[in-house]
Symmetry: C2
Subunit: 224 residues, 2 copies
């Protein structure tokens, strides 16, 4: 359609892409890596521009300001996660197989998009209210889907109000993997998916067994 932009081909390692949208996507990819590794605030727009082989004004041609980069990175990532969730749910699997697939798909998606996921977790606080709320709503939707599947497996958890806490324990295990798995060559993300799945089903069963004596910690405040 269009020749490569004349001033782009300097010393860039990655493949160039023609067209406005392609360039936008290439910038987002560069920015994702820079923000994930160096922090959003700590990364300058000059660094982003340089990584893309662009001048700073050129960069601002594609993104209105610095937060527009952050919106693009986080929103695209969370939309991908929503799509993955929807694809698994569309299979209409039995509840346990469904949750197993959800965990597997998420670990895989996280592994492919480690940088984007780190930016989503660490830097979302720098978005403006409206953008942050919109992205958090998508996250909440994903969490709700997970929680509903968990409730199908163990319906008595919903009444006890435990479906969300247990869902968040699951997300905690998965999200925290990014802080330790990279430096440990023994297991890959794919190795961890079945371990997390087994672990979660075991934990789910155990919490069920003791959820009858709910809030037993009240013993601390009102003995017997």
């Amino acid at each position: 359609m269009q020749a490569y932009p004349p001033y782009l081909g300097q010393t860039m390692a990655r493949g160039r892409s023609s067209g406005y949208e392609g360039q936008r996507e290439a910038i987002l990819q560069q920015a994702t890596a820079l923000f994930a590794e160096g922090g959003y605030t700590e990364t300058s727009m000059n660094q982003v521009a340089q990584a893309c082989g662009l001048s700073k004004p050129a960069l601002y041609h594609y993104f209105r300001d610095k937060t527009a980069l952050l919106v693009g990175i986080t929103e695209e990532h969370v939309i991908r996660l929503e799509m993955v969730t929807g694809q698994v749910m569309a299979q209409q699997l039995p509840a346990k197989a469904c949750l197993q697939q959800l965990i597997m798909s998420f670990v895989k998606e996280y592994a492919d998009a480690q940088h984007a996921h780190r930016v989503l977790i660490d830097e979302i606080r720098f978005l403006q209210e409206a953008d942050r709320v919109r992205i958090l709503d998508r996250e909440r939707h994903i969490v709700a889907v997970f929680a509903s599947v968990i409730c199908t497996i163990r319906p008595e958890l919903q009444a006890a109000g435990l479906s969300k806490p247990l869902t968040m324990l699951l997300f905690g295990m998965i999200n925290w993997m990014f802080t330790w798995l990279k430096s440990d060559g023994k297991f890959s993300y794919e190795d961890m998916a079945p371990i997390v799945t087994d672990f979660f089903f075991g934990g789910l069963a155990m919490v069920q067994a003791t959820s009858a004596q709910e809030n037993r910690n009240e013993l601390v405040y009102s003995p017997q």
Copy 2:
């Protein structure tokens, strides 16, 4: 011993403390809250000084530079966690009771030091190599203690190399609680401790049961 410094008593809300060490501690407390809520890089030394009722030069009298604040916050916190760990281990409880106590103590300590813990997690990357390594070593020591207790409960996990991954799944659940528990009035940190404990024991048992057929995810790549 010494009268309150004459120019300190302006409009500070917090209690003043006489002596160099007391002032240092008061500054660390203010900086912890500011860094946790606003980020380390995003918080200026002027803001820290203002929150303490000090001029910026006065602040620099107590801390050589900005990173010295970060070292103080994170190192004191991780040392407290090490002490809590040591106190539980000194009781020489049976393994399951010991792990239960460790989880309970950590959730409690985290709840009391939410700000410090958030700074430890989010901002440790801004420390210089030497400081970061020293603090990470203390973290690794704590993780090793948890892992050793878990291995006492399920010795066969160590051979499979699963003791560290399972320990990190536990820390993931606990550390991630900070991102969701505050906005959910139904459960407190203390409520969650027994839930996490039950959940972890259940998961531990389930992973044990299936760890024989380790790496079964290879089915994905080589069917049957």
